[in-house]
């Protein structure tokens, strides 16, 4: 293991144990005697080598030695930044264009091309759309088997593409589909994968620096993927900005034939659309959420009306989902969806930490609550103390009067 406590320096003060996010340090009685100190820090296997203790220790008694692994192959053969395009119902998912915006920037820093992987059936005509959005190359695989989204078929095909063309960076949307296949591709290629990045950059060594929140956004971590290639990352919708489409952009389309003998190993029998979601919560720019203050299932009508006025989606706290007032697909928070909307309006939500971690990265938060001391106000940009059944109709009136 790479972490060591220098027994001659450790005073057993316990500052490191307090600073360890994983509870991996205990302060125990020394087995061997020390002239000054009776106790010593002991590192348990819960340690993730994050380095928080090294910084915290006032005596420089803790050191972490990362095992220097030499690359097993010449890394310079890996070139290009790839984005895996995601489609649903014949349209590209918004995250695809956002990843291309960032991908182009990374490619320029690495002095290489930005490629976009396009898989599906009858998708070739879609390639120009990707080129005008910034792709220098489109690696397209056209096959009937790719019509529906079967994880295994996508994993096999994309892995084969990566093995053949050797991109240095591969980006996917952190959608239900993207997260599932990203993990399996990285497992197959034995390369690093970082989930839900909120920042991507290139360091002075030319490596991808991936910034992501941990512990519900209370801590940010910078992660590197070592000497393994490609460096893979997923990014949530609405984190990065797409480029302005430009039909004058030029790009090359490469045809890739699907590897033979892929067993899709399952059968999608049907897709049932969630009709309770007028606007898709995960992708919404505006979300209006209701909590206990709504009072009843019928009380949600006012939330729905408000969301309708703003063309936004309807969210909910865990309490009201558990009470059966609204389906689980609307739940925002730790055990529901994590959202990152431009505007989040919390109505009658007290703001338990489990709810806050699911929405606090929204750009602008408005809270409406009767209780002046509700913790939701601590994360709100605008707070309104009042009964939501009076406040919301007043705002709707105001919006309708002022016209849009």
């Amino acid at each position: 293991m790479g972490i060591r406590v220098d027994s001659s320096k450790c005073s057993g003060c316990g500052i490191c144990a307090k600073g360890c996010p994983f509870g991996a340090i205990t302060i125990e009685d020394r087995k061997k005697e020390h002239p000054k100190f009776k106790r010593i820090a002991v590192i348990s296997p819960a340690c993730t080598l994050c380095g928080a203790c090294v910084k915290a220790c006032p005596f420089n008694a803790i050191t972490i030695k990362k095992e220097e692994k030499k690359p097993t192959e010449d890394l310079s053969i890996y070139k290009g930044v790839w984005v895996i395009a995601e489609m649903s119902e014949g349209q590209f998912h918004g995250v695809t264009f956002e990843l291309m915006g960032k991908g182009k920037e990374l490619a320029e820093k690495r002095n290489t091309y930005m490629g976009c992987v396009l898989l599906g059936s009858g998708i070739k005509e879609k390639a120009p759309e990707l080129i005008s959005a910034g792709a220098d190359k489109v690696i397209a695989c056209e096959n009937q088997l790719l019509k529906d989204f079967y994880d295994t078929v996508y994993v096999e095909t994309i892995s084969a593409m990566i093995k053949e063309y050797k991109p240095e960076i591969v980006l996917l949307g952190a959608t239900a589909a993207g997260r599932g296949i990203a993990s399996r591709i990285s497992g197959r290629l034995k390369c690093g994968l970082t989930a839900d990045c909120t920042g991507l950059d290139i360091d002075s060594n030319g490596f991808l620096v991936q910034t992501r929140p941990a512990f519900g956004g209370n801590i940010m971590a910078e992660i590197l993927s070592g000497n393994n290639r490609p460096q893979m990352a997923t990014v949530r919708h609405k984190v990065f900005k797409p480029l302005e489409p430009d039909a004058a952009r030029k790009g090359e389309v490469i045809d890739f034939s699907m590897p033979e003998g892929i067993d899709r190993n399952m059968n999608i029998k049907e897709f049932v659309k969630d009709v309770s979601q007028q606007v898709n919560l995960a992708d919404a720019d505006i979300i209006v959420s209701g909590g206990r203050g709504v009072g009843s299932a019928e009380g949600f009508e006012i939330i729905e009306k408000f969301a309708g006025t703003l063309a936004g989606a309807v969210g909910a706290s865990r309490a009201v989902v558990d009470a059966g007032w609204i389906p689980y697909s609307h739940q925002v928070g730790q055990t529901g969806r994590t959202v990152c909307s431009k505007l989040y309006i919390a109505c009658g939500i007290s703001g338990a930490i489990q709810h806050l971690v699911g929405m606090q990265s929204s750009d602008v938060i408005v809270a409406i609550n009767k209780d002046r001391n509700a913790s939701i106000f601590q994360v709100a940009d605008y707070g309104i103390v009042g009964d939501l059944f009076e406040v919301i109709p007043a705002i709707i009136r105001e919006i309708e009067q002022s016209g849009n």
């Binding site: 307090k18 993990s183 399996r184 390369c191 690093g192 971590a221 897709f271 009076e390």
Partner: protein
């Protein structure tokens, strides 16, 4: 039906903060709990066992104290728990963790289904479930919200996506990751609690599950954390005041000004 359920012990609250002056972590009296999503996986495994017979094994990788999480699963109907604990597992990222858990699954041997929570609340990656399936070379269905039917070695599931759900038919063995909608976890019975208290949780090391040493812990983890830091501080918000109609007017103007509505 033989079932394996993977659980992770996580801090009971994500209320871990960085002191922005010293850039060190502040973790106050946080107790360890079972990752909430894993409780749904445990419940689903126990329900399947009750319906079809068989055996449920819970599996966790972590420090010695993670045995407590496994004991908790025994109190709600899991038959046995296995803890993977070894200093050599330290510094594992999701790839190394997936490999290690898959090695343990191979040692357990016969299984029809592996169940996991769809993600853990401390890391939020949702990568380990599919990672285990990849390592074992078995099908994987993520975000399962309902098991409709198990018959003749085939299971029919509902998989939750952003805009609805898929109905999927898949042959066993399969790995599934579950969301909260799938069930309501039961509370432990008195008998269950007694059983859990008396239980001894076997601990398997890297050698016990025949791991290749360069695929576990830090050496087996391509990703590593270079730096941790506090997120940018949000400037404190503004409480509006005055009559309701006045506040409604003000907030509408503000949001229009920000071009949000």
């Amino acid at each position: 039906m033989n079932l394996i359920v993977c659980v992770k012990q996580v801090p009971g609250s994500t209320d871990v903060k960085i002191n922005p002056e010293t850039n060190t972590l502040v973790r106050e009296g946080v107790e360890a709990i079972i990752n909430p999503f894993d409780l749904y996986a445990v419940e689903e495994a126990v329900t399947l066992k009750e319906k079809f017979g068989g055996n449920v094994t819970s599996l966790s990788m972590g420090p010695p104290q993670a045995a407590e999480a496994l004991k908790e699963t025994l109190s709600v109907g899991v038959d046995e728990g296995v803890l993977l604990s070894d200093r050599n597992f330290s510094g594992s990222d999701t790839l190394a963790t997936s490999y290690t858990l898959a090695r343990a699954v191979k040692k357990i041997g016969e299984y029809d289904m592996i169940l996991c929570g769809y993600q853990a609340i401390d890391g939020d990656t949702a990568q380990v479930g599919p990672g285990i399936a990849e390592e074992l070379g078995i099908p994987c269905v993520t975000y399962v919200k309902k098991i409709r039917e198990v018959k003749d070695g085939v299971v029919i599931l509902e998989r939750m996506l952003e805009t609805g759900f898929q109905v999927i038919e898949v042959k066993l063995p399969v790995l599934i990751t579950v969301v909260k909608d799938i069930n309501t976890p039961r509370l432990p019975s008195l008998r269950g609690k007694m059983k859990a208290r008396k239980a001894e949780i076997p601990v398997w090391t890297a050698a016990d599950i025949a791991c290749e040493m360069d695929r576990i812990g830090q050496p087996g983890s391509p990703t590593w954390v270079r730096k941790i830091f506090a997120p940018p501080q949000k400037t404190s918000g503004r409480m509006l005041s005055g009559e309701i109609s006045q506040q409604a007017k003000e907030i509408t103007e503000e949001l229009k000004h920000l071009q949000l509505i």
